[in-house]
Amino acid sequence: MWKTLILPTDEKKLARKLFVEFVRDEPYALLVVFGKGEETEALVRRASKLAGKKNDPRYVIWARKRDHIAEDIAALKGGDQVGDTALGIAISMADKVCDVIKETDDTDFSRLFDAFASTE
């Protein structure tokens, strides 16, 4: 998948380390997608298509096991608003949660573009 970091599902410690370091060190606007399954994978593919060209400041993180990084997300600015059922979140370069994609939301390109735009 294009410009997508897929977190491991079998090593929580590694998943947390990768997530925290990426959020902290990489200068990207991020769309973090939670969960597994075909629909979620399709969502990730759509998000990655919106990540733009190689040098564009957008990236996607796919956290197939949300609970691995739940603690780290809660520690972000606005992280306490994410909830347990969100399908994804948008994080700005300033490490702030700017948008939460709810399970009732459409997850089409338009919605995901809006999530990225909320960070820009």
Binding site: K49, A51, G52, K53, P57, D108, S110, E120
Partner: protein, 626 residues
């Protein structure tokens, strides 16, 4: 000392000017009214009219919406925001498919999309710079600043669409991204979104315009110029059939004294001579001037009044002779209204009589010139106020009569003319009062209530309104600094004459804003350095100044009252007492419309320096026999 008395008089004028201005803030009533109209239920409104000034020196200036000031010789480009005009028309007359909220959303989306597209190239550049950067904090900040003008417009569109999804934008956007071969860049994504929004909004706006045109919605744009000669319409190409006005340019370099100034100069010369010979006793002379002035007012008023009364009588007699019962019935109503005006006129006439008697009987006699002039100023202010009230009464009656019916159009027209005559009279009176009275009046006033769009102003279908027109002030006839312009745009529906509504008005003042040179005579009190052969410390002499000035585009107060200048004064001095004038030239600073001038110079004949204070106020009229 003579000079001390005169300095007191000067200060008195200045003091009155400031206090009088405090009473009359410029256009405060109408300004509040228009400001109120500028906030619609959907929040602050954009202006429909935008005016850009192109001055004689090649400068371009955007004229502010309120309190605009332009140079008296400029060209004005008047632009019409078609979108805002259509929005206001749709909100007033309704649109077939869209409600008020949807109309507001449509125009918000259209404007935001246009702005976003304008900023897109800058955003693309910011992304390119980012790609080549080290991605440090400074680069992040630069990227955010580069993207913000576009993203903020995107958010405006998104907010409007949250309430009103009518563009079909989501589906189109999804289709575009899905069918894109590869990965569209961030800039391409924003570009597509904004283009889509702009295109759809424009389509809907076009539909809306067609719908409004089909309803017969028309637009009129008119302009008037208010000068000392009255308020007259001016030609706006594309919007009316008025002929172009006479060519008139307000000179920017005036070094010669005109006829009036020449007389003033001679007056100063005589006054200087008298002062030197007799000294000054202002109070006695001032009373004589005041009496003469009041007589002049009464004569003017009676002259106008007789003409107004004759016009009204002729109209009523013609109507009474009509065979139409409706006309005769309406005449009775008109007569009652005229009686109301007559009572007001009698009251006014009586007041003038009392005032004149007061001055004739020397009831104001006082040896204190300051106190006396203070009384005079208060009386003059009351005359102005009373005259304005009378004009308002007549205008009000004219409004009543207009409602009586079409049969009495001519009678209403006559009274409207009477109201105008009285308004003009009020202005004439104020002008007749000279420099003091000018301070009482907050610039030239435009009586908007009596202005109507003439038949010459075209009713343009809303889909045929030009984007802009130009008013060349040089083709608006005789005018002078302080005169005003009014632009008015109105909309209406063809099948309902009463539906016409003024959408917006824009009033501008004209001054000599660009650098210009003026000349003015003055009475100079020159103090020579060292021992001169004269009886007093100050020599009183006639002089004239040539001053360089520049007006303000932001302050009418400055233009009307401060009007500072810098230049030279030339005086006929006689420091050595040989009755042979010597040329004195002095560097001069002038303020308060040249009323106060000070400077320092050199007497070439007597080989002696001097400093002076002087002014262009009518001091000479206050100086007379003992």
């Amino acid at each position: 000392m003579h000079c001390a008395k005169i300095a007191c008089v000067l200060l008195l004028f200045v003091g009155h000017g400031c206090s009088s201005f405090g009473h009359l803030t410029e256009g405060s009533a109408w300004l509040g009214e228009v400001l109120g109209a500028e906030t619609g239920k959907d929040g602050p409104r954009k202006p429909v009219l935008t005016i850009d000034e192109r001055d004689e020196d090649g400068g371009r200036h955007r004229v502010p919406r309120f309190g605009g000031i332009v140079d008296v010789n400029s060209r004005l480009v008047v632009r019409i925001d078609q979108g805002e005009l259509r929005r206001r028309s749709a909100q007033r007359f309704g649109a077939d498919k869209l409600d008020d909220k949807q109309i507001a959303a449509l125009f918000a989306i259209h404007d935001a999309a246009q702005k976003g597209l304008e900023h897109l190239p800058a955003m693309t550049r910011a992304l390119q710079v980012w790609a080549e950067s080290t991605k440090d904090d400074a680069a992040q900040k630069a990227l955010a600043e580069g993207m913000k003008p576009v993203t903020s417009e995107y958010k405006t569109i998104k907010k409007a669409l949250d309430e009103f999804e009518f563009l079909g934008s989501k589906a189109a956007f999804n289709e575009f991204i899905a069918s894109y071969d590869g990965f569209p860049s961030v800039a391409e994504q924003y570009a597509f979104y904004l283009q889509l929004a702009a295109r759809r909004a424009e389509e809907l706006r076009t539909d809306l315009t067609r719908s409004l045109a089909a309803k017969g919605i028309f637009v009129q744009l008119g302009a008037w110029i208010a000068t000392g000669g009255g308020t007259t319409p001016v030609h706006l190409p594309g919007f009316d059939d008025y002929p172009e006005g006479d060519y008139f340019r307000v000179d920017r370099v005036v070094v010669n004294l005109d006829e009036e100034q020449q007389k003033q100069f001679e007056g100063y010369a005589n006054a200087a001579k008298e002062i030197e010979q007799k000294g000054v006793e202002p109070a006695t002379a001032a009373k004589r001037v005041a009496r003469s002035f009041l007589n002049s007012i009464r004569a003017d008023f009676e002259k106008h009044l007789q003409k107004i009364a004759a016009d009204a009588r002729a109209t009523v007699q013609a109507a009474e002779a009509s065979a139409d019962a409706n006309v005769r019935a309406a005449v009775a109503t008109v007569k009652a209204r005229i009686a109301k005006v007559s009572a007001a006129v009698d009251d006014y006439r009586e007041y003038l009589g009392q005032l004149e008697a007061k001055y004739r009987s020397n009831a104001t006699a006082t040896q204190d010139p300051l106190a006396f002039l203070s009384d005079v100023r208060a009386d003059f202010a009351a005359v102005v106020e009373r005259t304005k009230q009378l004009a308002a009464t007549v205008a009000g009656v004219q409004g009543d009569i207009e409602q009586i019916g079409a049969e009495l159009k001519s009678a209403a027209g006559t009274l409207a003319k009477s109201a105008n005559d009285l308004s003009s009279l009020a202005e004439e009176l104020v002008n007749a009062m000279g420099l003091q009275a000018r301070l009482l009046l907050a610039g030239r006033q435009i009586n908007r209530d009596v202005l109507t769009m003439g038949e010459e102003v075209k009713r343009l279908s809303i889909d045929q309104v030009p984007d802009e027109t130009e008013l060349n002030l040089l083709r608006t006839g005789a005018r002078e600094p302080g005169d005003k312009l009014l632009f008015r745009i109105a909309i209406g529906r063809g099948d309902d004459p009463k539906s016409r509504k003024i959408v917006e008005e824009n009033e501008l003042a004209m001054y000599q804003v660009l650098a210009h040179v003026t000349s003015t005579p003055l009475l100079m009190f020159a103090n020579p350095s060292g021992q001169a052969n004269q009886q007093t410390d100050f020599a009183t002499v006639p002089a004239y100044s040539v001053l360089l000035k520049r007006g303000s585009r932001s302050s009418s107060f400055y233009n009307r009252f401060i009007d500072a200048g810098i230049g030279f004064s030339f005086a006929a001095l006689d420091f050595n007492g040989d009755d042979q004038p010597e040329l004195g030239v002095a560097a001069t600073v002038s303020i308060l419309r040249d009323w106060i001038q000070v400077g320092g110079g050199y007497n070439f004949g007597d080989d002696r320096g001097f400093w002076f204070v002087g002014g262009a106020v009518p001091i000479s009229s206050l100086i007379g026999d003992r």
